[in-house]
């Protein structure tokens, strides 16, 4: 494919969803068709970009570089390389699946038109973030996702409507009105707080270096930026991206947002939005302010490892006490997984960065799948609360028996999440730990990184612990109840309010063909990335080597 065609395709990639969102405003379009059509077209474009990408060449491809706001020195510069290409495809894929899913299983909230429009704006922002090659353009795209996601959580989120079987004591503990609104506010304010500080950092870099062009800045590797400037910029930019990632002490917006968001919101939040933070760290922080990054890297690594352990311990506690929403458990597990990504980045080694990028994709696939699955469980039970699922017993929810395909997939997702070799979660964590064993000698702190590696390894054990325990609680359970005992008083309430076929067996509808179709690509890619990691690593490795610069 000629470079011009690739440029056009890449420029169309954010333009198509943006145009789609404008079309959603017009009363003449049918939003039910528009969403899948626009996101489907975007996915096809993304696949075309991947097909047209020259795998033998390094550096940016498919560039569009036009003057946009000359008085501020801002250029409209798009481009794709081995780091952003997988993320672009992942974004297009997940958004398409979400759009299709939302049409068949619409979340409760205002109509389809605004939802479709917001989803498309969200997609344009996400794609723009991964394609932008100008700091200000990157910032613009980075902020573009805020409001659509905020509205998705606030207006389509789970507002904690009383669900049968919820413990009254826990009801009282909830925030008074509209927990979804509260979660959305927290998401918005946290992320914006990070991103405005990041903007100050960008301006610091751009005004001192005289350009906002990312490839140009990356090629300089910080030449011309004083140490003080670099440190301040790295701190400001780092905070902004760390909020998004999220890094441990700045993570507290995430569990509520994930729990309150509708399924499509959770999938995109975990699958793509978190990656924007770590992608920014790799793309901007590491190459553009290398001195500042080296100063902050040990802290980043330490916070990442704390995140791994923290996430795992919180999850373990929640699963053991059966006092949590499955969505919340997966949200906390995301903090742990993103901890590995941060650790990988903080090693500043090719292995670590490759691992981080791999874990990014792996986590996007696995957690996307898990949120889809938990969403399906929630649709069926009216809640994803462990206590509700288990019906107050200790025996487990027996999803294997009630809905074997759903249960099996949930177990698969959990096992992939704990990093079983052969699935997508494995390589990222392995490489991140390996990277911290060989951490960049220029960093000093070898002992620190060794200790962090050991703690990270402990984290994988804890992760395995809670995920397996979760599988045990949700999927396993007592054998079929004898008919006499079946008339449990709350059985009726547990059934999904409008389940299509009230089965004779007290159970729930298993995964439909439609749902399996939505989940299949994620399952397949999880396996492919696990069995054939070279597909991704071959892409990222040259780009990462270039980012780290002469060593």
């Amino acid at each position: 494919m000629s470079p011009t065609v690739l440029s056009v395709l890449l420029a169309l990639l954010p333009a198509v969803p943006l145009a789609g969102s404008l079309a959603a405003l017009s009363p003449r379009t049918t939003p039910r068709r528009l969403g899948p059509a626009a996101t489907g077209l975007t996915l096809l474009l993304a696949i075309a970009v991947a097909a047209g990408y020259d795998y033998g060449r390094h550096g940016l491809q498919g560039q569009t570089d036009a003057s946009w706001i000359p008085s501020l020195g801002v250029r409209f510069h798009l481009g794709v390389d081995g780091i952003s290409l997988p993320l672009l495809v992942l974004t297009a894929l997940l958004t398409f699946l979400c759009a299709v899913h939302a049409e068949r299983r619409p979340p409760h909230g205002p109509g389809a038109r605004p939802r479709t429009g917001l989803l498309l704006v969200l997609e344009a922002g996400m794609i723009g973030t991964f394609a932008a090659q100008d700091l200000i353009l990157f910032f613009l795209a980075f902020e573009f996702v805020l409001i659509p996601m905020y509205l998705l959580i606030a207006r389509w989120g789970d507002d904690g409507a009383p669900v049968a079987g919820r413990h009254p004591a826990k009801e009282a503990l909830r925030a008074p009105p509209g927990p979804a609104q509260g979660a959305a506010n927290r998401f918005l304010l946290y992320t914006l707080l990070g991103s405005v500080l990041m903007l100050v950092g960008f301006l610091l870099v751009g005004l001192h270096a005289g350009t906002f062009d990312m490839p140009a800045l990356a090629a300089r590797h910080g030449a011309g930026l004083g140490h003080g400037t670099q440190l301040a910029a790295a701190l400001l930019i780092g905070i902004g991206l760390a909020v998004k990632a999220p890094m441990w002490p700045l993570h507290s917006w995430l569990p509520d947002a994930h729990t309150a968001a509708p399924t499509i919101g959770s999938v995109l939040l975990a699958g793509v939005l978190l990656k924007m933070g770590t992608y920014g760290l790799v793309r901007i922080l590491v190459p553009e302010v290398p001195y500042g990054t080296r100063q902050l890297a040990p802290y980043l690594a330490a916070f990442g490892v704390v995140g791994i352990l923290w996430g795992a311990l919180v999850c373990l506690d929640m699963v053991r006490r059966r006092a949590a929403d499955l969505k919340r458990i997966i949200a906390y597990s995301s903090i742990g997984h993103m901890g590995f990504v941060l650790l990988g980045i903080a090693t500043l080694t090719p292995a670590g960065l490759n691992g981080a990028l791999f874990a990014n994709i792996g986590h996007g696939l696995i957690t996307g799948l898990l949120f889809f699955l938990v969403g399906a469980v929630k649709e069926r039970y009216g809640s994803a609360d462990l206590a509700v699922l288990e019906d107050g017993s200790d025996a487990g929810a027996a999803l294997y028996r009630r809905a074997p395909r759903l249960g099996g997939l949930l177990a698969l997702g959990a096992i992939a999440g704990l990093g079983l070799p052969g699935l997508a979660g494995f390589w990222g964590e392995l490489l991140a730990l390996l990277g911290s064993f060989h951490a960049d000698p220029a960093l000093g702190h070898r002992t620190t990184y060794l200790v962090l590696m050991a703690l990270g390894g402990l984290g994988t054990l804890l992760t395995a612990g809670y995920l397996l325990l979760m599988v045990r609680r949700v999927c396993m359970g007592p054998p079929a109840v004898p008919p006499v005992a079946r008339h449990h008083p709350s059985e009726e309430a547990l059934r999904a309010p409008n389940s299509p076929e009230p089965a004779a067996e007290p159970g729930i509808p298993d995964a439909s063909r439609f749902e399996l179709g939505v989940w299949a690509p994620l399952v397949a890619l999880t396996a492919v990335a696990g069995l054939w990691p070279a597909v991704l690593l071959r892409l990222t490795d040259p780009a990462v080597t270039a980012l780290l610069g002469p060593r």
Partner: protein, 518 residues
Amino acid sequence: MTAVPPLTQNVDWLAVAPPLVTALAALAALLAAVLLGDGPRARRAPGAIAVLGLAAALALLIPLRRGDRTAFCVAGRPADCSYAADRFALAFQLLVLGGALVAALLSLHAVRGDGASEKRLPRGEFWFLLLGSTAGAALLPAARDLATLVVALETASLPAFALVGLRRDARGGEAALKFFLSSVAATAVTLLGVSFLYGASGTLFVRALPAALEHAPAQLRTLAGLGAVLALVGFAFKTAAAPFHMWVPDTYTGAPLPVAAYLSVVGKAAGLAGLAVLTVLALPGYAHLWGPALAVLAALTMTVGNAAAVRSFGRERFAPTAGPGDRGSAVRLLAWSSVAQAGYLLVPLAAAGHNGRLGRATGSLVAFALLYAVVNLGAFAVLAVVGRDRGGLRLDDHRGLFARRPVAALALAFFLLSLAGVPPGVVGLFGKLVVLRSAVDAGLGWLAVVVALNSVAGLYYYALWTVRLFAPAPAGERAASRVPVGLAAALAVTAVLGAVLSAAPELALRLTSGTLLR
């Protein structure tokens, strides 16, 4: 003016045309209201005259666009002019006249009074006062001597007091009185400062001041410094900078809505222009004094404004039924937000005081002021629509606006998010970018961080307000009536400008690269 003997002054009538045409239109509108009687067509005449007059004044900016004309110069000394139509003045005149035109469009229906009769504003007085104040505000950025500056400030302010009280109810009267008393005090302080400066330097001409102050006797230095600070007070008041902001919320809520819109854009622009002329042109040698002062003032203003806005938002949240007479907590919120925006507006000037690149800072200032004016007037235009529909402007009156009037709701969402500076309000994002850039450029890192934190606080209430637009409509909703032509035009103009500037911000931002004041 023509009576003055030719050896002292020559007048370039084209250069002074924009404020002059505005003033003539003011008189014409007043006369038309008095002379034409009370027929249905005659009733519309003053409004039409006002709108056309402002449009003509705007059009007269075009032949001046090279920005090299001056007027009222002392013969033989071409530098000593009282009036300069330079690019700085033209940019501000564009802002002032454009803002006044949108405010006029907003008031057309309120003045003609197709609602209940007690809501009607007296048309002759209204148009005369509005245009008179606009003429002063348009004169101010071009004024290049201290006396003209003060006279222009007064011309812009005095009719505004009457405008605020024009509704003749208790709240309006109280608002006007508060506005009047505090404004007069501030102007008096400015006059005192100006007289100190004159005493120390012996000249009134802005261009001549720096050199004159340089050579001022040493014992007058303190006097000059004091004068410099005092002179800024009146303009800071007009800009609504803290601690001179206390009049803003009461005045905005008590005034008719279009007048509040006018004050928030035109009044503020006049104040800023005065500040810029005084600091950058007249007192560059005192940058070590006013630079840090303005930086602190800016930080204080935005923090006070945002904190109060968040608080007033919370107050309505916990007491959703506002007390009697409180027609507009939405306007109050916009008032506090306009205080916060005044803080952002001061940042480029403060930056100028720090890095000495004075001309460039005025460019950033004008660019941000233009972007802000568009979105702020747009927000007021939608508020006018909502106020007509619902009879009140509490935040809860915005509930379900999307269901009722989808276009207006989307426009308001865009304007509010632009005020917050978050996409899809891309215009506002560029404004924030310009402000932050000027701060970082000047090495005012702390101020940049304060701006950043404040924009987060701002987003809190703008976003919560935006969410309400998309909330389900309350029961018993009346069907939406037709929007009057003037309102629709104002809304369309601001929305189109906002959209165009989102895609091509260079149109406004090119001002940031040029040196406007030399």
